[in-house]
Amino acid sequence: MIEVKNLTKRYGNHEAVKNASFTINDGEVVGFLGPNGAGKSTTMNILTGYLSATSGTAKINGYDILENPIEAKRHIGYLPEQPPLYLDMTVEEYLDFVYYLKNTSLPKRPHLAEICQLVKIENVKKRLIRNLSKGYRQRVGIAQALIGNPDVLILDEPTVGLDPMQIIEIRNLITQLGRNHTVILSSHILSEIQAVCERIMIINQGYIIADGTAAELSETLSEDYTVVAQIIGPPREVKEALEGVKGVKNIKVMGLFGKATEYHIEPEMGVDIRRGIFERVVAKKWTLIDLTTRKMTLEDIFLKMTEESPERLNRIFEARKNGEEIPEFDEEGNEITKDDEIDSVEEIDEIIENKETTAEAEMPQELEDTLQFENEKVVVDLSDIESVEDEKTEESEVTE
């Protein structure tokens, strides 16, 4: 079991990890997810005792990594971002060295043989590590972490720089190891974490901004499934008409996109309302120009979370902690409040009227001419392409 409380790590003025607290139970496979420089490696380095935290505590199986480092380290197998290999040793010599370094009581020969078999490095045992490919080096790194059979495995970006085949192999290996170890794994690739881990912690700019299973994250952080429709037609009537479609729970009028109005339509659970909307719009002779469904995938959540600025993250973080609704932000980073939503149909009618009048007034005659002219030109081009081509070549000759 790993218990982390209020962990903070400061490098000069820069806080790499900010007040992180979490608990990881025995047998869990946890993924640290975050972009490069988010604080994943720093957190791992603190957990393994390579770095010391500025404040806060980390306990491995009840042993504090600072107060009782030797006992705590005995329970950890660590694969850093760059496998800590001595290039001038053979694989066998290296594993021997690590075996003695970790001072384990397990019988040496069978223990090392078992590990070599597990990570499939038996055939390179006699080779110098210097001459091994990246995939094999990574495996030797994992083998090293497994020596002494520690309960907790901490693997920092174990698949970086490997080819797709190797990635799959390493993932399978991690899944296999997850059956009888507690595994913490870090990556900036979402699909990888999703493939291997039961629990995901999203870390960005030193904050743990989300923690839960993939399903939980999707549920708590994404908006519900919505249908987004852009319809050209009188908003009031459209809204009323769409409310009559079977399965529609709620409609929000969002705003104008060109001549069309955008509606966010929330369906009842498990109902596909797109067909109904389409048929209704056609029956009323309005124009449907866009109809899409929107559901946030984990990828969206990850992108959304990691693009947030620290202040906004802090706000989200606070809200999560206090059990409030997670705030949303517009493109300029201002918090979206309820007032910003257009909820009365009258309001949108007004906007449309304003827009139409201004649009008509401001559309200059010249622009309309050019538009028409361009249309004509297209027709000419299509009917008489060859002559145009000839003209073009002549022109270019002249310029030359």
């Binding site: 390579y50 380290k73 850093p80 001038d88 060295f97 370094l101 970790k102």
Partner: protein, 233 residues
């Protein structure tokens, strides 16, 4: 500690560093011995007083990679996350470098035996000298190891170690320009070269032995502190 020692000692001989250090030492000490032998001097004391220059040249090469290479290859992450004490890392490395140095010095015993074929030498004087150069070298190794723990670059480590050695040597010369008595006394007291010379003169002063051992202890301790501090960086 023994694990670290073994790995470190072996690393000297899997890379060309160990071999080239031994070759360098054997070649120059051999040259020196040849000259002394040909001029008919029957004891090695004279040789020892010149030998310290060769020692000065090989120590930075011996110590430069001890910590800086670990840091560069990130293998320090293995050492500092393993269930061992920081002190055993530093001690293991120090002993490994000292062992290679001792192997280099072993050739001196061979020279002494060659001399023993012709005249009966004063073995006590020889052992005094030998102990002197061993302690002198080990002190420099401790200093070099400390410097190596401060930087990631082997070259920088070697250059700084050599510079420190030069300062310790030249500190003697500075005393001539200092008028104040107590300052002169302090400077002479920290002069490693002066301490070493007293060995080559054939006097075995226990305070000098204590001095060298203290230097070793201080710099091994400082190396351990540097490792510990680095975690808070």
């Amino acid at each position: 500690m023994f694990t670290i020692f073994k790995r470190e000692f072996r690393a000297y001989f899997t890379s060309p560093i160990g071999a080239s250090i031994l070759m360098m030492f054997y070649f120059f000490s051999g040259l020196l011995f040849g000259v002394i032998f040909a001029s008919g001097v029957s004891e090695l004391s004279e040789m020892f007083s010149t030998l310290f220059i060769i020692v000065m040249a090989i120590i930075p090469i011996l110590t430069m990679r001890l910590f800086s290479e670990e840091k560069r290859q990130k293998t320090d992450q293995l050492l500092y996350t393993a269930p061992i004490r920081l002190s055993s890392v530093a001690l293991g490395k120090f002993l490994a470098a000292s062992a290679v140095y001792a192997i280099a010095l072993a050739i001196l015993v061979v020279y002494q035996i060659i001399i023993a074929f012709f005249v009966s030498p004063d073995w006590m004087v020889f052992f005094g000298n030998f102990l002197g150069i061993l302690l002198y070298g080990c002190s420099l190794i401790a200093i070099g190891m400390f410097v190596s723990s401060l930087t990631e670059s082997q070259v920088v480590a070697a250059i700084i170690t050599f510079a420190i050695e030069l300062v310790l040597l030249l500190v003697e010369l500075i005393t001539q320009f200092i008028n104040s008595d107590w300052l002169t006394k302090i400077v002479t007291e920290i002069s490693i070269y002066e301490k070493y010379n007293s060995f080559t003169r054939g006097t075995l002063d226990y305070s000098n032995i204590v001095f060298f051992i203290s230097v070793i202890a201080i710099f091994v301790f400082l190396t351990i502190r540097v490792q510990d501090r680095k975690r808070y960086a």
